[in-house]
C-alpha cells in the first residue's frame, strides 16, 4: 500500500471525467473509490488497482513537469547560466564525436569525414605496433601516476597547513604564492627551470659546484629528467590543486574540532581523526577524475622540457601523436589514439568508481 500527498491526487476531474474502461465503479477496492473524493487528507491507493496506478503515474509525471517548468520560470537566470556550459559541451564535446569515425577511416580531406574509406582498426594497429609503443605507454603511465602520487598528497598537505594556520597574513601570503605558478605557461616555466638547472650556469649547479660536486645536466639526463617533470609539475600545480581541498575543509563542522579539543586531542590527532576522514569523499572524487585522464601525462610540459637526449624517458603518447599524427598529416591515426585514450580512461573511471563504491562508501556517482 502506498501513501501519497493530497496534491498528487487532488485533481478530481481526472477521476470523475474518465471514460476509460477502468472506472471508479469497476475498481474492486472500496478504498480506491474513495481516493478522488478525499480533499484534505492523504489519499490511499491500492497498487493492485491498474487504473488507479496508471492515473497516479500520469498525474505524478504531469505534476513533476509542472514543477520543473515552474522552477525554470522562477529561476530562469540560473537556468540561463546552466545553458551556457551545456551548449558548450554539446557543440565542442559531443558534436565532434561524430568526427571520431575517422579513427576507422583512411581520412582524405577532399572526401570529407563521411566520404573517406573505412579501414577498420588499421590506425589502432599502427599505434600498437609502433616501434616505441611500450616505451610510450610506460612513460605516459610513469608521469601520470608519478604526478598523482606526488602532487596530490602535496596539495592535501598544503591545504591542511593553510587551513590549520592561525595567522591570517601568513595564510593568505602562502596561498597567493602557491597559486601563482599555476598562471605561468610552461614556456616561462622552462625559462625558469633552465635558469635554475642548466649545467653551465644554473643556480642549483652553482651550489653543487660550490660544495665541490660535479654539475648535473638535469634537463638532458635520463635519470634526472623524470624527477624534474614530476616535481616541477607539483611545484606549478600544487597550490591550484589545493583549492578544492581547502573548500572541503571549510565545510567541516567546527563543533567536531571543539569537541576534540575538549577531549584533549592534539593537532595531529584532529587532522587524522577529523580532517582527513571529512575530506575523504573529495579526495576520492579527485583521484577518480585523475584516473579518467591517466593517459594524459601533460603534453605542454613535456613538449617544452624534452629534448633528443631524453626521448627514451620523455616521449609520451601525446608527443608521439604530435610528431606522427599532426606533423605527418595522419589525422586518422591521431584520432584513433585519442579514442584509445578516451576508452581506457572511461573504463578506469567506471571500474575504480565501482571498487570505491563497494569498499569505501563514497564515489563519483
Amino acid at each position: 500500500m502506498q501513501v501519497f500527498q493530497k496534491a498528487i491526487c487532488a485533481d478530481e476531474r481526472v477521476w470523475g471525467n474518465t471514460s476509460a474502461s477502468h472506472s471508479l465503479k469497476q475498481c474492486p477496492s472500496a478504498l480506491c473509490g474513495k481516493v478522488g473524493k478525499v480533499q484534505e487528507t492523504p489519499c490511499i491507493i491500492l497498487p493492485s488497482c491498474p487504473y488507479a496506478e496508471s492515473v497516479r503515474l500520469q498525474m505524478a509525471e504531469r505534476t513533476a513537469k509542472q514543477q520543473l517548468l515552474r522552477d525554470i520560470k522562477r529561476h530562469k537566470s540560473v537556468y540561463a547560466l546552466l545553458a551556457i556550459p551545456l551548449i558548450y559541451y554539446i557543440i565542442f564535446k559531443y558534436v565532434p564525436i561524430f568526427n571520431g569515425q575517422i579513427a576507422f577511416k583512411d581520412y582524405m580531406a577532399l572526401d570529407g569525414v563521411l566520404g573517406s574509406q573505412w579501414i577498420g582498426f588499421e590506425h589502432f594497429r599502427t599505434f600498437v605496433n609502433s616501434y616505441y609503443f611500450v616505451e610510450l605507454l610506460r612513460n605516459t603511465l610513469m608521469y601520470s601516476l608519478g604526478k598523482l602520487v606526488f602532487s596530490l598528497p602535496l596539495a592535501i598537505i598544503l591545504a591542511i597547513a593553510i587551513y590549520e594556520s592561525n595567522r591570517p597574513i601568513l595564510r593568505k601570503t602562502v596561498q597567493t604564492l602557491a597559486y601563482l605558478p599555476h598562471f605561468l605557461s610552461w614556456v616561462i616555466m622552462y625559462g625558469i627551470l633552465l635558469a635554475l638547472l642548466a649545467p653551465g650556469d644554473g643556480i642549483v649547479n652553482d651550489v653543487i659546484k660550490l660544495f665541490g660536486g660535479k654539475p648535473i645536466d638535469f634537463l638532458t639526463n635520463t635519470d634526472a629528467f623524470p624527477w624534474i617533470v614530476i616535481l616541477s609539475d607539483a611545484w606549478k600545480e600544487m597550490g591550484w590543486s589545493a583549492i578544492i581541498f581547502i573548500a572541503a575543509l571549510m565545510g567541516i563542522d567546527p563543533s567536531l574540532f571543539e569537541a576534540a579539543l575538549v577531549e584533549g586531542a592534539n593537532s595531529w590527532q584532529r587532522v587524522r581523526y577529523i580532517t582527513l576522514p571529512s575530506i575523504r569523499p573529495v579526495i576520492v572524487i579527485v583521484v577518480l577524475l585523475r584516473l579518467g585522464t591517466i593517459l594524459d601525462a601533460g603534453f605542454n610540459q613535456i613538449f617544452m622540457l624534452y629534448s633528443t637526449p631524453v626521448y627514451s624517458v620523455a616521449d609520451i603518447i601525446d608527443t608521439w601523436v604530435y610528431r606522427q599524427g599532426l606533423l605527418e598529416f595522419q589525422f586518422g591515426l591521431a584520432t584513433a589514439v585519442g579514442l584509445f585514450k578516451g576508452v581506457i580512461g572511461m573504463f578506469l573511471i567506471l571500474g575504480s568508481n565501482r571498487l570505491v563504491k563497494r569498499f569505501g562508501g563514497s564515489s563519483l556517482y
Binding site: 554539446i90 557543440i91 558534436v95 565532434p96 561524430f98 568526427n99 581520412y107 582524405m108 580531406a109 577532399l110 570529407g112 569525414v113 609502433s130 616501434y131 616505441y132 633552465l194 642548466a198 649545467p199 653551465g200 650556469d201 654539475p215 645536466d217 634537463l219 638532458t220 639526463n221 635520463t222 629534448s307 633528443t308 637526449p309 626521448y311 627514451s312 616521449d315 608521439w320 610528431r323 606522427q324 599532426l326 606533423l327 605527418e328 598529416f329 589525422f331
Partner: protein, 525 residues
C-alpha cells in the same frame, strides 16, 4: 510518449542545424560583382612586430587597382607550428587561397589533392617570373611532373659562418686554428685558461644548440663545421661517387668520437643540449664561449650586435676558415637553394581565384608593389639616398621608419617581393658605427666574407624523402645517447646501432633518397 519523441527529434534536428558549420568543407566566395576576396597566410618578415594595421594603405591600393579584398593572416614563426596550422586547415579542407608552406607539407597536400598546379602562372607573371623563378625553383616544387608551388627566393644562401673570438686568441697568444687538433687546443684554452681575464672559470670553447632540418640532421647546423672536417656534413652526401646518408659513412663515427671528446672534456658549453635559439644567442652576447657558427645578420646587424658591444667593448669576433679534418676535408656545412614556397589551394582555383592571385603576385613584383611592400611609403617609411637605396634617414616621424618598430608592421609582406637583389641587401644591411666601441660594422660585409668560405653544395638535398617519425627519433636519440654517454661509443656498439637503424627503415630511407636524387639529377660530380 509521442510528444517526447517529437521533442527529441526536434532537438536532434536543431543540433544538427547548429552543428552544420562544424562539418562544412569551406565556403564559396559570395561576392559576385564586388572585389574578389583573397585569403593570404604569410610568413612575417619581422616576427616580433605585429601585422599590417587595418588602415594600411596597401589594402586600399590593392582593392582599387586589382579589385581584390586582401585578407591577411600571419603564420606562426615556428616551423612546426606553421605545419600544424596549415595541416589542420587542410584536414578540414579549409585552406586559404594563397599560403606559405614548407616543402614536406606541400608534398602531403599534393597527395591529398588540396593544392593546385601553378605551371600556367609563370607566363602570366612575366615581371615576377624574371626576378623570382628559375628552373631550380620550379623543380623544387615539382611533384609528378607538375609544379605545385611558387618557390620564391628565401634566405640568402651561405649566410652563416664559423666565428671565433679574436680578442680571446690575442689574450692567450694563440692563432686561429686550422685543423681539428688545433681546434681542440684552442677550445681547451678558451675553457680553462680564462681567455676573458675576469678571474672566473666561466667560459667554454664552442657554443651550439640543436638546430636540425631535412638536410642538416642531428646534431644539426651549429655543429656542421665539425662534421664538415670529417666529410660528413649534412644529412646526405650529394656526390655521384658517395651518394647516400652520411650517417652510413665510416667517417661519421670519427666525427662522433671527436664530438664526444668535446663533450667529455667540457670544452663545449654544456648547456648546448638544453639551449633554444634565443638562449644560445643570449649566451654568446654574454661571453660564454669563443667559437660558434652564426648567421650574418644575427651576429652583425645593429640591434643584434649591440648587447655584445655593450658587454665587451674590446670584444671582437672574426669569420674563420672551416677547420681541416684528418683527411684534409673542410666545410662550413651543406647549402641548398633557400626557397620560400607559396601555394594556391585547389579550393581557390575552384572558386575562380587563380587569375586574381596571379594579378596580385605580378603587381607585387612591379615597382609600386616592390617598394610599398618592401619599405612602405616613400617619405613616410623611407627615403632614397643618392644611389636610390631606401634608407631610414630624414623622415618626419622616425618611429615610422621601415626599420623601426612601427614601420616594420607595414613591411611584413616584404618576403613576398624580395629576391635578394642588391638594393635589398644594401638597404637591409647598412654600415653603422657601434654605440660603445665605435667600430664600423656591416652585416653585408660579414655576409660576403661568410659566402667566400668553403661550403658543400647540396642543392636539392632538402627535397629528398624524409624518415618516419619513429625512424627520425631513433636516429636523433641514438646519436645523442652516444654523445652524452648513455650508450658507450665504440666500434662494436656503433655498428650494432647502425644495423638496427638500417633494419628499422634506415636502409630503405637511404635507397629511396639516392634513387630520388639520381632521378632528378641532383647529384654533384
Amino acid at each position: 510518449m509521442k510528444k517526447q519523441y517529437f521533442v527529441c527529434i526536434a532537438l536532434i534536428a536543431l543540433l544538427s542545424f547548429v552543428s552544420l558549420p562544424l562539418f562544412s568543407q569551406g565556403s564559396k566566395d559570395s561576392a559576385v560583382d564586388g572585389p574578389v576576396s583573397i585569403d593570404l597566410w604569410y610568413g612575417a618578415a619581422v616576427t616580433e612586430a605585429g601585422p599590417p594595421p587595418a588602415d594600411w594603405v596597401g589594402f586600399d591600393i590593392i582593392k582599387e587597382k586589382l579589385n581584390i579584398d586582401l585578407k591577411l593572416t600571419t603564420l606562426p614563426s615556428n616551423e612546426s607550428d606553421q605545419d600544424v596550422k596549415i595541416q589542420a586547415a587542410a584536414a578540414a579542407n579549409n585552406l586559404p587561397d594563397l599560403f606559405m608552406v614548407r616543402r614536406d607539407v606541400l608534398a602531403r597536400l599534393v597527395s591529398q589533392g588540396l593544392v593546385a598546379p601553378v605551371d600556367d602562372l609563370y607566363e602570366k607573371m612575366p615581371t615576377r617570373t624574371a626576378t623570382h623563378y628559375n628552373e631550380v625553383s620550379r623543380n623544387h616544387t615539382k611533384f609528378n611532373g607538375k609544379s605545385y608551388g611558387l618557390a620564391d627566393p628565401g634566405s640568402i644562401v651561405k649566410n652563416e659562418g664559423l666565428l671565433i673570438r679574436k680578442d680571446w686568441l690575442d689574450n692567450l697568444g694563440l692563432s686561429i686554428p686550422t685543423t681539428t687538433d688545433e681546434l681542440l687546443d684552442v677550445m681547451r684554452a678558451f675553457t680553462f685558461d680564462d681567455p676573458d681575464g675576469n678571474g672566473k672559470n666561466d667560459t667554454y670553447g664552442y657554443g651550439a644548440f640543436q638546430e636540425v632540418n631535412n638536410y642538416e640532421a642531428w646534431p644539426g647546423r651549429r655543429l656542421e663545421p665539425i662534421l664538415g672536417a670529417f666529410g660528413v656534413e649534412g644529412t646526405w652526401d650529394m656526390t655521384v661517387a658517395n651518394a647516400g646518408l652520411t650517417i652510413l659513412k665510416p667517417e661519421f663515427y670519427d666525427a662522433m668520437v671527436y664530438l664526444k671528446k668535446m663533450v667529455d672534456e667540457g670544452i663545449i658549453d654544456p648547456n648546448w643540449l638544453a639551449y633554444k635559439k634565443d638562449d644560445f644567442r643570449a649566451a654568446w652576447k654574454q661571453g660564454r664561449f669563443g667559437i660558434m657558427r652564426e648567421q650574418n645578420a644575427a651576429f652583425a646587424a645593429q640591434s643584434n650586435y649591440a648587447p655584445f658591444d655593450k658587454n665587451f667593448p674590446n670584444g671582437e669576433w672574426v669569420v674563420m676558415d672551416p677547420i681541416k679534418g684528418p683527411k684534409g676535408h673542410a666545410s662550413i656545412g651543406p647549402y641548398t637553394a633557400g626557397f620560400r614556397i607559396y601555394a594556391i589551394s585547389a579550393k581557390a582555383v575552384e572558386e575562380g581565384k587563380k587569375e586574381k592571385i596571379a594579378e596580385l603576385l605580378e603587381w607585387m613584383a612591379s615597382d609600386e608593389g616592390y617598394y610599398l611592400l618592401g619599405w612602405g611609403v616613400e617619405g613616410v617609411n623611407y627615403t632614397k639616398d643618392a644611389n636610390g637605396i631606401p634608407v631610414a634617414d630624414g623622415l618626419p616621424d622616425p618611429d615610422l621608419a621601415f626599420s623601426g618598430p612601427v614601420g616594420q608592421t607595414v613591411t611584413q609582406l616584404r618576403n613576398m617581393v624580395f629576391y635578394n637583389g642588391d638594393i635589398e641587401l644594401y638597404a637591409r644591411y647598412p654600415k653603422y658605427i657601434t654605440a660603445t666601441s665605435k667600430k664600423e660594422m656591416s652585416a653585408l660585409d660579414v655576409l660576403r666574407t661568410m659566402q667566400s668560405k668553403q661550403w658543400t653544395p647540396a642543392i636539392g638535398s632538402d627535397m629528398l624523402p624524409i624518415p618516419s617519425a619513429d625512424l627520425k627519433r631513433f636516429y636523433e636519440q641514438g646519436l645523442s645517447e652516444f654523445i652524452t654517454g648513455k650508450r658507450t661509443l665504440n666500434r662494436t656498439n656503433w655498428n650494432t646501432w647502425i644495423a638496427e637503424f638500417k633494419k628499422l627503415g634506415g636502409q630503405d630511407w637511404n635507397d629511396k633518397g639516392v634513387a630520388f636524387a639520381k632521378e632528378n639529377n641532383l647529384l654533384n660530380e
